[in-house]
Symmetry: C2
Subunit: 136 residues, 2 copies
């Protein structure tokens, strides 16, 4: 019954209010990458009185606690997804806005090498591919 996000909140000492539980539930059940407005819409179905400010505060809190991941794709508002164990990057369909996740170890390795060659250690990175679907 209790979802992964709630579990992480408990583990990290993040106080679980009714609103946060609802947001946790909605995010756990979301397979996509909703923005704050969309999250607010979804949560509002469960509690029509929840304020969008609370959604903003909660996703920020979750992000700072490493519970969810925030993405700023091109020309859009911030989008969120539940943080996963394995790192992945995104391909965005420029026609539909659909977001596809992918993992490529080779690219990851090369990024570290590039940073190292420049005298840096890689702390974070951002890789987004923007493409259009091949006709067949």
């Amino acid at each position: 019954m209790i979802n992964d996000i709630e579990k992480k909140c408990i583990k990290k000492g993040v106080r679980l209010t009714d609103q946060r539980k609802l947001i946790a539930k909605v995010m756990s059940e979301s397979a996509d990458h909703p923005d704050v407005d969309e999250l607010h819409k979804r949560v509002s179905k469960l509690d029509s009185k929840i304020s969008i400010a609370t959604v903003y505060r909660t996703v920020k809190l979750f992000e700072e606690s490493g519970i969810v991941a925030k993405h700023d794709f091109k020309g859009n508002k911030a989008r969120y997804e539940q943080a996963t164990h394995e790192h992945h990057d995104h391909l965005i369909d420029i026609n539909t806005g659909e977001i596809i996740e992918f993992v490529n170890e080779e690219i990851e390795k090369l990024q570290k090498e590039v940073a190292a060659k420049l005298g840096y250690s890689l702390v974070d990175h951002r890789l987004e591919l923007y493409g259009s679907k091949n006709k067949r």
Copy 2:
């Protein structure tokens, strides 16, 4: 005397006003990646009456004409640089904010492959590395 950005404006039929010439000049002489505020500051030294709205309109126009490139690095306002012939990506020093450009053909190739494997053709991409300088 006439700089590359002005040349491109002429080639693309972008009307050259005094203000645009100044912005073109400042950007041509900038080796870094200034944001609009910074550009406005630099241009203001040449013409103290130029409005920041004009700077916003001009960088947008230049960008749409492919004359300058816009970057939205993490947590910051948009930054601009003169568009170059060869594509490159960026490494951002998370301590100093310094931006280092790099080219890595291997990564470029892998990106295309990833997109292709997912059934897409790559239209655009964004790769940013965030790192901290190695002590020595």
